[in-house]
Amino acid sequence: MSYHLETAEHPETLRRVAIDPVSRVEGHGKVTLLLDEANKVQQVRLHIVEFRGFEKFIQGRPYWEVPVMVQRLCGICPVSHHLAAAKAMDAIVGAKRLTPTAEKVRRLMHYGQILQSHALHFFHLCSPDLLFGFGSDVGQRNIVGVAARHPETARRGVLIRKFGQEAIRITAGKRIHGTGAIPGGVNKSLSVEERDFLLKDAYQIVAWCRDAVRLARELHETDPALYNSFGIFRSHFMSLIGANGALDLYDGKLRARDDQGAIYFDDVAQSDYEKYIQEEVKPWSYMKFPYFRTLGNEHGWYKVGPLARVQNCDSMPTPLADAERREFIDYAGGSPMHAALGYHWARMIEMLHAAETIKDLLHDPDLLGSELMASGERGFEGFGMIEAPRGTLIHHYRVDENDLVSMCNLIVSTTHNNQAMNEAIRHVARRYLHGREITEGLLNHIEVAIRAFDPCLSCATHALGKMPLVVELRDAGGELVHQLSRNA
């Protein structure tokens, strides 16, 4: 069932429509649809067309360089890679437990990252679809259009993101691609001035994030027929879980639930991830397809990210976000929500949680401490897992006796969601495109489903992409029938 529409029987007889590349996502990917003479969809694939390379060229580099180098995978969530690599390298320097200052500075950096990335995704990348409609005028379906029609929403989105980036700058030295986390700890703590600089806006940001949750919820309540079913498919889901079953985006152990919400595995140590997760390669994409080993590649795929995390944890450790989480669970009606657009609502709950966490951390005197580093017995293998904005991020390294990296394996958030995104666009293609004349607005429905996952295709393939869009419609003989283009 999970491979329905993945491969058509006689593709040479079908028309091909390509969305190349998918826009308003990070990275470079394309969607191809194969249609028969009656415009009925026979095959749908999300292809990731760029080459991955970091796992290879990190080999032979000194281990202390890795947290700074691998963050260049991405311009939106570099902090996630920076911290996952640093966590892995903590084991190399024998730092089994960081100093309180180091751990809290890293957490501040990470929750700043969650805040800015979620704000960027919701307000800049997706709000045009959600506020104007998926098939609305393409000329206004962008952040400039949002700023013109909903100026306060756009302004808050920009300022929430800015606040998150300032938290990153203060902990890592730069808003993008800093150096704060090093193996065994951090290279700086906060000064009183830096702490107060963030604190003066922290409460306003919490209030705005709460409003953003309400906006996302209202979208569901206003049009439940659309929001509760668009791109829906059932699957397992997985995330890290902190102590006592609470959400923890910085650290924890792996937990998975099945599509009904029953726990499938729990309390899995990060170092055991390979016992549970296998990756499959398919010839039409550079992005691998992970699945749970015990279920096999046909049934073992799963979702990660906000929709998984909010429903996988037993609670959220900040009060406002936890109240919103409970309302989300109640709205779903006793079984997990699997609708793709539910990601947006869950993402806003997490954004609120990040804002509350930052506000709480800023009241913690450990942030101002001077004990920055820990060390211990030298290790040769490190596992670093973190809940990145888009889902569970896994870094795994081995380091030789000369301090050089000998093995690197990265499973990034978007890779976990590969099959899930393919399933979502197949669902949308069947429902909205099947048997109809293709238009830009209809094709955007496909992209809306992909964007719900907030994919980072650069991370997933370890390369960077550009975003102009050209859609070509060719007949069965390969002749160009119609072309639509859109600049970045």
Binding site: P62, W64, G173, H177, T179, D403
Partner: protein, 230 residues
Amino acid sequence: MSEKFTLDGQEILFRAGQTIIQAAQDAGAWIPHLCYHPEFKPHGSCKLCTVTVNGRHMASCTTQAAAGQVVESNTEALNGERRTLLQMLFVEGNHFCPSCEKSGDCKLQATAYELGMMTPHFDHFYPSRPVDASHPEVLLDFNRCILCSLCVRASRDVDGKCVFALSGRGIGTRLVVNAASGRLVDTDVAMDDKALSVCPVGVILKKRRGFAVPIGERTYDQAPISEVKE
């Protein structure tokens, strides 16, 4: 010290025997350079310190100061030639500043910033230069070597050893260590050797210290290289 020359119109006093760059540094004036270091005999190889002396191109690190010289350094023409030299240095090696632990403390990077080098311009060579991580405390990353020979001079003239040398000719010139195995661990290098602390780029690195200094506190975060006293 009563004799003087002019540097970009500014009068510079000098002592007998001083080179132009020495007198300029004493006067607080910056002439771009990479292979020159005030503690070592000039090498004159990087050519970045080239100035015009009475209209003729001369390396200011090897040219004696003389009374009445009219020296020009900070001109668009000379800085353009310096940018070209920098661009060639960047493409001849593998200089990946974004992940280099010397970033912010690197003279090559800081000089390129100061002289407004915006792109490498030339095709990259992408040479294959494996690192030497054999020594337990020192990493050699030859990818970043600009052949300034400061480590060679420091080892020979200060440490009384010959741990480092330049081998080969022309475009094949490369930094080597003095051991039959070619590995640093098999040399007589010691951690307090001067040679280990003079590299202007990110070749000779003390292990496990990378990125310990936060952004904002590195040498050239504080001030541009033209204002940092050597």
